[in-house]
Amino acid sequence: MAKHHISFNLNGKPVEALVEPRELLVHTIRENIQLTGTHIGCETSHCGVCTVDLNGKSVKSCTLLAVQADGGDVLTVEGLASAEGLHAVQQAFVEEHGLQCGFCTPAMLVRAYRFLQDNPDPSEEEIRWGMSGNLCRCTGYQNIIKAVQSAAKKLQQA
């Protein structure tokens, strides 16, 4: 099968890859570019641990072909923190104990980041709705909701 040469922005930096059509975006990110914060879970677009940001929208990278990201802008958990330190969403997850085993956390963070961009002042119900595509098998949702609420406040004050 002919490989495709793709290039896209990953966390603000241009990257290139040579991919088979069947290569999934999550594999390109993890195995080719070696950023392993984005995880692989159910592989059937259900659990959400592969969530990344593509062109300003949350997507499940286990159900996207890498060729479909060609020319796009991708943000993973590795792109959240800056030279000044952790992103407000990351800080809030630390303070509110929004993580247990941590497997789902990177995608929770990337999703929470995008959700708060779209809805900076959400109600608790809106947070539950907005985060509903990400599963946590440690059943830690309560603190995740609190963390997103806290991050919303931090971002509004910033």
Binding site: P21, R22, S45, S58, T63, L64, L65, V67, W129, S132
Partner: protein
């Protein structure tokens, strides 16, 4: 999980995609991909060639022309939810889209893919039946109009040829004397329906002038509960009539037993979704 090998082509136009569909045997269209790619990973589907129709401008957009709303087939669920035109003129579609999968999937999943894929668990087919939608389908010989009623033939089986593409969906704006309801029972976020029912009805005074009841995931494909509709048409709908209609719904269902429940449970839940959807539709039509 990795799919079988295939070749990939990004189509630049509907004509380009149709030409590829005509030339290549067993080529498949890639819309949002959230049904197709999981099927390919599980090797339920192994198309040798994918035609990506995500970046074709003519398949995008929602327009109001007179009382007809035209929705490009590649409109995503989240675009439907955010559409002012649909919120104002066809909120049934907005309500249905909100219950499809989860936020991330709704960013990719498209109304056209949902309708054309042929999974009886998909939400939009029954909604199309309740709205009496027109499906605009394009093939090598041009465009044709296909009523949603009659389009759904069986599981993964629709009235669409292998070299045709669903390009748009046309629905009529709901009128003041019309009301709608949509109820879907699902076990958890992201799941398909145990049973679901969209209802659209028109009132003439107190009487039900017309009613369409769709059913999701309780037959090999989306179906209309025609006999239940006939019980209500021309009548002043009351609790007793709704009970009669619900009993008809139970006998119209032929669900497959699975982890979501057995046949009896699913049929009874379908009837309950219909009861609730009729109540909502009545209330909205009266206001």
């Amino acid at each position: 999980m990795i799919t079988s090998q295939f070749q990939y082509h990004k189509a630049s136009s509907v004509e380009d995609a149709i030409q590829k569909l005509t030339e290549i045997e067993d080529a498949k269209l890639l819309a949002g991909g959230h049904s197709l790619l999981p099927m390919m990973k599980l090797r339920f589907a192994e198309p040798p060639y994918l035609i990506d129709i995500n970046d074709i401008p003519e398949l995008q957009g929602i327009e109001l022309d007179g009382d007809t709303i035209r929705i490009g087939a590649m409109t995503t669920e989240n675009e439907i939810i955010a559409s002012d035109i649909l919120q104002q003129h066809c909120p049934l579609l907005v309500e249905a889209a909100k219950l499809v999968a989860d936020p991330q999937v709704r960013n990719r999943g498209t109304i056209g893919g949902d309708i054309a894929h042929g999974d009886p668990g998909n939400d939009h087919p029954a909604v199309m039946l309740a709205l009496d939608a027109n499906l605009v389908i394009q093939g090598p010989d041009g465009k044709r109009n296909q009523p949603a009623n009659g389009f759904f033939l069986g599981t993964y089986w629709n009235e669409i040829a292998e070299d045709e593409i669903l390009v748009a969906i046309e629905v009529k704006a709901l009128k003041d004397n019309q009301g709608f309801g949509y109820h879907k029972l699902k076990r958890k976020t992201g799941d398909y329906a145990v049973a679901g029912s969209p209802v659209v009805l028109s009132l003439d005074g107190d009487k039900c002038a017309d009613i369409r009841i769709g059913l999701t995931n309780v037959a090999p494909m989306a179906i209309r509960a025609t006999e239940a509709e006939n019980i209500l048409k021309g009548q002043v709908i009351d609790e007793a009539l709704i009970e009669q209609a619900a009993a008809q719904v139970v006998s119209a269902c032929e669900p497959a037993a699975d982890l979501r429940g057995d046949e009896e449970y699913k049929s009874h839940m379908a009837a309950e979704m219909v009861r609730r959807a009729i109540q909502d539709a009545l209330q909205r039509a009266r206001n």
